[in-house]
Each structure stands twice: as C-alpha cells, then as structure tokens.
C-alpha cells in the first residue's frame, strides 16, 4: 500500500507568512514533508491549521497578502530536472506549471464552475491548454473525460450549463476539469464537504479510481477522519501551521503518538460511548500572530510536560514511515499513556469508519 518510490514533491522547512491588518501572521511554521509518486496523502487538522495554505504553495494560489518567508519546495516531476517552487513569484513563473503539473479540486462545486459556459467548453479549455489538442479532437477528449468521471450521456451533457447539473454531478465535472489538465499531482481541498453524505462516498471512490488508473499522486485536505480512513495511504496531522505527526494510515490511527492526534481521534463520534458526552478538545488554537514558544499544543494538552512550554520538539522517528513532533518520544520523557479511548481504536477496523457514519467536522 505504501509507496516508498520516488519523491515527487519535497517541502523543506517551509515558513509562510501573511500580512493582515498591519500584523504578520505565521501561517506555516517550518514544515518539512515528502510526497511520494502515486501515493494518497491526507492532511488533517482543524480549521485555521494551515492545511489549505500549505497546499496552495504547490500551485501558486497563495493569497496576495501571503508569501514564502523561507524554505524550499522541490518538485521532481519535470523532465528538465527539479525546480524549487518557493522561488516562483510571478504569474508568469507559474504559467505552464499550474494545472499541467498540479491540479486542484475545490470544496464547493456549486460555485466552482463558470455559470455562463458549457461544461464541455470548460473542460476543453483545460485540454487545449495542457494537452495541445484543438477543435474536434479537444471536444472528443472532453466527452471521453466526462464519461471517465461517471457522467452518463456525455455528448449531451457536455453541451449543458452548470445550472443543469446537481451538486454531486458538478463535483464530477470539477474533477473532470482537473483530469483534463493531465496533472502529476491532484490536490483535493475538502472535495466532499459541500456534498450530502450519500454522494460523498461516490466522489471519494471516483477520485480513488482515477488515481489508480492514471497513477496520480493525490493530496486530500480534510477535517473529516472518515474520509481519511477511506482513501489515504499516509496521514499528516497539522496543528497551528505545523505538521505534528505523519505516518501511514494504520500508524496514525492505531498508534498515534502526539497528544494532539490523541485529542483529534478522541473526538471521533464513532468512538463515543452511548450516553456519554462526545469528547471535545478544550481551549482554542494559538494565535498565530504571536511567536509560539515550545509545543503549540501544550496549552490545550491535559498532561503537558514542562519542556513543552519552553522548547519546540523536533521530529522523533517512531518507525521509518512514522514520525511525530512531541517531547513524549524523547528517551528521557516520562511514560505517558494515550487516553483510554485511543486504545479502543485498535478494536475498530479502519474500513468501517465509513464516511456515511461520520458526523462531520472534528475538533
């Protein structure tokens, strides 16, 4: 399942800042992450943890008031050799990269399509840009992609406008547009959040099928651990602009090491015990306008160590594929057991953590 093959994207000590109302916000605080060719990585974390900001750097869609302060983002998918995306500043730099190498599926299919253009036209636009096809050829290709994403009667549907499609169908069209770019990496930014639960599973299944068929590398951004369990090979848990734990799906679910991961998993409704209140993480995420000292999660951690407030933990390897940024993994640390509820997870099979059973946003 885990592909230890070639690295396609490598983020090195990335710092991203935003200027907001005259103050500087540290949105990404020193993230390092490797993405392997053909894998499905899920980035989870609560709202404002920097999931979207991180991935926007891969496609040059950072908001105008944000910038890469330091760090590197190496992309290895080009034949001409590796490039550092952190050096791409202007629209011209990104031209030819966006879409062609990295494409994106956005959250809300109801607003993601141009209401005045036919579906076919919008797919063809991407085909013409990235596949060098024109006219009839492009048209035929668009219809082929439409049927690929599971739209019936693609010839007829291609001539229709977005308002003639339902939400789930529109998300299929958005995926079709991404596929028309023929990218190496597909970023799915909460692809199912705006859809109703019965459609969610279908869309995830579709993305998974396309990934297998075309050897796509996919990144899922989500706060829905049910989605993660269904589709991801690896999970990166983000908190306050940092990846606090990363590992294979099994490792993060069954053997989580960071107190934040514990807290996040504890708030899964599936793990709740009937008659008891669902677990909720106390407190609020730190203010990223301020310099954060030590472990960002320490103030909300029910059993923090003293050192958590003083020094930022480095990554400790749990296994070759699993690492976490917590002092608990230091050999000198006292033994702290994960909460009771986390040990329950071992009894649950991942597959049963179906999206349909999931109650929505965690934390």
């Amino acid at each position: 399942m885990l592909n230890n093959g070639d690295t396609i994207l490598s983020v090195k000590d990335l710092h991203v800042k935003f200027s907001l109302r005259g103050k500087v916000l540290n949105a990404i605080r020193g993230i390092s992450l490797d993405l392997y060719k053909g894998e499905a990585l899920a980035i989870v974390g609560e709202s404002g943890s920097g999931k979207s900001v991180l991935t926007k750097n891969f496609i040059g869609l950072l908001d105008k008031n944000g910038w890469v302060d330091s760090g590197e983002i190496w992309y290895y998918g080009l034949e001409s050799g590796p490039v550092d995306l952190a050096q791409y500043k202007t629209e011209e730099d990104w031209q030819g990269f966006r879409g062609k190498q990295v494409a994106m599926v956005m959250q809300d299919p109801m607003t993601s399509l141009n209401p005045l253009k036919t579906i076919g036209w919008q797919i063809e636009e991407a085909i013409k840009l990235h596949q060098g096809l024109q006219g009839e050829e492009a048209k035929r290709k668009a219809i082929e992609i439409l049927s690929d994403v599971g739209i019936l009667e693609p010839e007829r549907r291609a001539k229709q406008y977005p308002h003639e499609f339902s939400g789930g169908m529109r998300q299929r069209v958005v995926i079709a547009i991404a596929m028309a770019c023929n990218p190496q990496i597909l970023i799915c930014d909460e692809p199912t959040t705006a859809l109703d639960v019965t459609i969610q599973a279908q869309i995830l299944q579709l993305i998974r099928n396309l990934k297998d068929k075309y050897g796509l590398t996919t990144i899922y951004i989500t706060h829905d651990l049910g989605v993660v369990a269904n589709v991801a090979d690896r999970i990166a848990v983000m908190y306050a602009g940092d990846i606090v734990e990363v590992g294979t799906c099994e490792e993060v679910f069954y053997d989580p090491r960071h107190p934040y991961t514990w807290a996040l998993l504890s708030s899964l409704p599936q793990l709740g015990i009937k008659g008891q209140d669902l677990y909720a993480i106390k407190g609020t995420p730190p203010n990223l306008f301020n310099e954060i000292r030590g472990d960002a999660f320490a103030p909300r951690n029910p059993h923090p160590l003293k050192i958590d407030f003083l020094y930022r933990p480095p990554y400790f390897d749990v296994s070759p594929t699993h690492k976490a940024r917590t002092w608990l993994l230091d050999p000198r640390a006292p033994k702290v057991d994960p909460p009771e509820i986390i040990r329950h997870i071992q009894g649950i099979k991942l597959d049963t953590m179906d999206v349909k059973a999931n109650g929505g946003e965690q934390a």
Binding site: E91, F97, G99, A103, S112, P115, E125, H163
Partner: protein, 313 residues
C-alpha cells in the same frame, strides 16, 4: 426563445394599454382650457360645442379606444396650445431625430470608453488607474452636472474656437454637448462594470480557472469581463431608446431643438393632448427598453431559461 419574446411582448402591450387608460383618465381631470388656444374669449356654449366636436364628451372608454385606434394609425392628434392646431407627430419628429442623434453619438463614445475604464479599474484595483478612475467618478457623481457643463461650454468654445450654440449645419457644434453628455455616462458605465468585475474576481470559478492554468489575461477577458458584462447588456437597449427623450440641461445650454424639456414645457402650457402623447411615448420607450434588455440578457446568460424548468436539479 421566440415564444418567450412573444409572451413578453404581449405582456408589455397589456402594460402599455393599462398605462394609456390611466393617464388618459387622469388627464380628463385637467382644466378644459388645455384643449383651446383662446379659452378666455370663448362663451360657455362655444366651449361645450368645441368639447363635443373633439369627442371629449363621449364616455371615457370610447375616448380611450379612439385614442388607441388613432395611435395605431400613426395619428397622434393635434397640439392645441404649444403650437396651435399642428399635428403633434410633425412637432416631435424632428426633435426626436436631433435628440437621438446626439444621444447615440454620445453612447457610441461613452460605452466603449466607460467599459474600458471599468476594466482598467478592476484589473488594477487599488492601484493608480483605479484611484484616478474613482476620483473621476466621485467628481462626476457628486458635482451637479450644470456646474461642469458651464465650464465645458465656456472654456470648450474658447479653446477649440467653435461656436457656442448648436447649428444644424456645423458638426463642430455637436462636440461640446457630446462631451457634456458623455462624461456622466462614462462614469456610470465604468463604475458598474468595475463593481461587477470585482465581484466576479472573488468567485470560486475564477480560482478554479486559475488553478487549471488559464493565463491571467485570458481569465480577465474570457471569464471575468464576459460574466460581469451581463447586467450591463441588460441596460443598453433601454439607454439607447431613452436617448430620444433628450437631456434638459445640455439641450438648453446649447439651444439644441431636441426633446429635452419638452414634456415640462407642454405641461406648463397645459397642452393636454401633447402631455398625453409624450407620456405614452416615454412609457412605451421605457417598456420596450426593459423588454429588449431582458431579451438581450437572455441571449448572453444561459441561466435565464425561456421555458419552464425541466427539473434537472
């Protein structure tokens, strides 16, 4: 499409007929002297006779019916006081021509300029062009027209060495009135287009277009401008038709014998027939303008459906 247009046209006609009836009925309350040019010297018997002769003693519905029938024949009736006993059609036709000529020239200039300014402002939002454009728009919208109209007339005619007043045979005399009319018109086109375009740029589908790698300039024209221009398309037929109503200020500043102020004049003179004709004319133009605007908008926006929803969602 055709069916939709016909349906809308029928509805507009009904609106127009109702409007004619109401205006007609209201005007019957006006003093009777509005039908005579020498009312003061007439005896009550003569007045009575005159009114009967003109059919004004007939039941209202007969009168309305007659008026509409005459309208359909192209007979607008006679003016009694504004220009004694001359056919109204003959009075207003040349005036409409002049006003429309001025208005259409002005629109032909201000529409492209206004849209271009709007695009520039939206594209460089917050930068030099946007600020300059905003200063211009605020100035034009805030200062009463008459103020800068005077400056245009005084300095324009001195600097360009052209006659101050309108002369049919001298095209140069159209320059200053056109500028006066175009300035506010450009500012409002620019203001609305900028606003619609800024709205569009923040929409998700623009982000998706960017994410799929569409070049910036293409996004601006193929997506942003194309979608922002829809509500403006709706306004164009109306503004075009409304040019025949002229403009009070400009026309009186340059003594252009157009339609501007004519309605006010005939009301002051109590020329009931002309009031009636002008009100119906302007109303008809307004209604037709709206109708054409809706049809034009339907042509550029597929979401406006001509038939009943097919339950695709």
């Amino acid at each position: 499409m055709l069916k939709y247009s016909i349906k809308r046209l029928a509805r507009s006609l009904i609106t127009l007929i109702i409007l004619i009836t109401i205006v007609f009925a209201l005007l019957r309350f006006m003093p009777e002297e509005g039908y005579f040019n020498n009312y003061e010297k007439m005896s009550p018997a003569q007045i009575e006779l005159g009114l009967i002769k003109m059919g004004l003693k007939d039941p209202l519905y007969v009168q309305v019916f007659r008026f509409i029938r005459n309208l359909l024949k192209g007979d607008l009736g006679l003016s009694y006081r504004y220009r004694v006993n001359s056919p109204i059609a003959k009075i207003i036709a040349p005036k409409i021509k002049i006003s429309a000529k001025l208005g259409i020239i002005c629109m032909a200039i201000s529409l492209p300029l206004g849209l271009a300014l709007g695009v520039l402002m939206a594209r460089y939002k917050g930068k030099f062009w946007d600020r300059l454009g905003n200063a211009y728009i605020v100035f034009i919208q805030a200062v009463p027209n008459a103020v800068y109209f005077i400056f245009i007339q005084l300095y324009g005619s001195t600097w360009l060495k052209i006659p101050m007043l309108y002369n049919e045979n001298d095209w140069r005399t159209l320059i200053l009135p056109t500028i006066s009319l175009a300035l506010p018109s450009i500012s409002s086109y620019a203001m609305w287009l900028r606003r619609y375009m800024v709205d569009e740029t923040n929409k998700d589908y623009i982000k998706l277009a960017r994410a799929k790698g569409v070049p910036n300039t293409t996004i601006w024209f193929r997506h942003v401008f194309r979608n922002a221009v829809v509500p403006i398309v709706n306004l164009i037929p109306g503004s075009l038709l409304m040019t025949i109503s002229g403009s009070i200020y400009t026309e009186s500043f340059y003594s252009i014998p157009g339609m501007g102020g004519l309605l006010v004049d005939v009301i002051k003179r109590q020329d009931n027939n002309m009031v009636m004709v002008l009100v119906v004319l302007f109303a008809a133009v307004g209604i037709v303008g709206l109708l054409l605007g809706d049809i034009a908008m339907a042509l550029v926006d597929p979401r406006i459906s001509f038939t009943k929803k097919e339950g695709s969602r």
